[in-house]
Symmetry: D3
Subunit: 139 residues, 6 copies
């Protein structure tokens, strides 16, 4: 999944569902499920605008899009759950762990050391859950 | 300049000066000059840490680093001069105008439409100054 | 309690205590109690300025004031405990659950989807604690 | 225009264009025109999501929506042009100047005095441009 | 004016006016005057809470209070006019130019280099207006 | 440790390690240890730039530096772990509990009451862990 796609026969909603599933995987589904009893329409908007419109655009590859999102969420520092989802998403679309930690470390320059530290600890959590065997090997 | 370099014989300061010149060009020099009579040591730190340390690391290519920076500065929305410098820097390291506007548009999802709009208008200014001929051809 | 009141015989402190009790209820008392051993004067300021001065002003009804506060705290995204207190306060002064979720969803436009999502999940928690019977009926 | 509307025969784009024209008036058109040569798709998204989806929802009246937006943009403090557009929009949908200044003043409690001051000075500019006669009468 | 004062016979308003005049000088008066036709009550709150209550408290000397304010406004990066007022105020209460620039430079660590740069350029403007002779001597 | 030091024979790294140990104590070591398996280079940067460069500068005493940091982190409101580390650091370099709570309370003026409240509750936690005997005496 290096580059992206639009399918003329698809609605924004269908395209968004497909993109969310590919990019965010189970984490995306969990968010949508959690919205069901409080704001189901918002789940639809989440499919349609971020994923059906923006992530589906052809002008920037998904790996670059996830670098942009990880950078922004690290810098803003007030959306820890979404940062973790997108660190996971970065891995899903082919970023290496090194590329993710480089992106986060760079945010020390633009948003300060605390923002970068909190981003690195979020990545540590995501990597530990995703690569448990490799961590055992290290131990 | 697709990928980066470290030169073992170079000090952090020398490496940072070289990186800043390559990435930010004249805009970087202007910032350093403006610091001369208020905080000259800060110009040194600016060479050394962001450019000598971070941008010189090999783990992420410069194009990706500029996407991360443009994303973060757009999302934070409180550093317009630096955002313009890095839109320019993005062009310097090989990003296309489309890749830059895609990165900025995506920030509507993470930081809201006003942040994205203000980022797009910053890009419009930078592009207009940098590509004056092409704009005449369009008109 | 559709519109508000000032009582000329009341001090700012008395007026603030009355307003805080009406608007924030027990949650307001808990905050004040928690301040007792660290910064008791700050509890007095909290009564006096936000509640004795601002919320007691006649020019904007309380329902609108709580919409403003819920919107701002959702958008800023860095004050989760206070957002929950004010979602509760919104219910106290007569906002419907729908009006609160609409306000929060709208923040996706101004502060991004993560801010709106985190606000919706805060509302979900507050509503679940406040309306347990209705949730059982749904189940 | 106290409450809102959806028209089943309308597309999101048409509905968004209608809503943007009613709410933001000429200021909205100016933003869209300014996007034409940098990111025309973004103008479409601006019609569709904020205005075609969110502002067109029936669960919250437009006056309350503008209070929410003015509060959030004042509190965030990093989107002065959009704050002015929405102070104007607040007047367009029937908010009084007093309701707008009350909303902004209240943000001193949640985002500090500088944010509230900068919001009040933005309102002062918008009111001066919109009500020039009344200002002359005062003088 | 190394340490501060409270006068039991003074109202909060009187004390706040005195403190604002001592700390912010003419810049404070200008802010109050600018509020007269948009939100005169807010000028009273500005005297009473920040200056009559907070800055008048004995537990922290004024020099330290201005360091705290300069640090916070530099880090937040969205209140340039107030940052300049408080750089001026820092000089008024006895901070040296070096202490002010050290405080601002330190914010690179906590809020990033752009915030620190913009703070330094604000200080450069304030110092240039306040110490014109010394700048000529340098030239 | 009222004023600071630079030792010409020391590298930035050595100086930073010494400064971090003096200022942040065990909390600083914990941060560095936590970085070991995710981003060890970042631990080096943390020693070198914030502590080896900035905190080691002679122009501002450490007590003032910690007031600046506590103020900024309280105001930003998105870095609770680092705020606690620096409340502890403030005590380490000689700030009294009163000076720390005054600094935090003042942030209500610049960043709003929620930011100040969350800062005060962070201080309450740090003080309770550090001064357990005195709390028992109170009980």
């Amino acid at each position: 999944m290096t580059q992206y796609y639009q399918n003329a026969d698809e609605s924004r909603l269908e395209r968004g569902k497909r993109a969310l599933a590919e990019i965010d995987g189970q984490a995306g589904n969990n968010v949508v499920a959690a919205l069901a009893d409080i704001a189901p329409d918002f789940a639809r908007y989440l499919f349609e605008f971020p994923f059906g419109d923006i992530y589906s655009r052809p002008g920037l590859e998904l790996r670059a899009r996830e670098i942009a999102t990880i950078a922004a969420l690290t810098a803003m520092g007030n959306a820890a759950p979404q940062l973790k989802v997108h660190i996971e998403a970065g891995l899903n679309v082919g970023l290496t762990r090194d590329e993710i930690t480089e992106t986060i470390m760079q945010m020390a320059v633009y948003a300060g050391f605390p923002a970068a530290l909190n981003g690195l600890f979020a990545a540590k959590e995501v990597f530990a859950a995703r690569f448990p065997v490799q961590r055992e090997q290290v131990a």
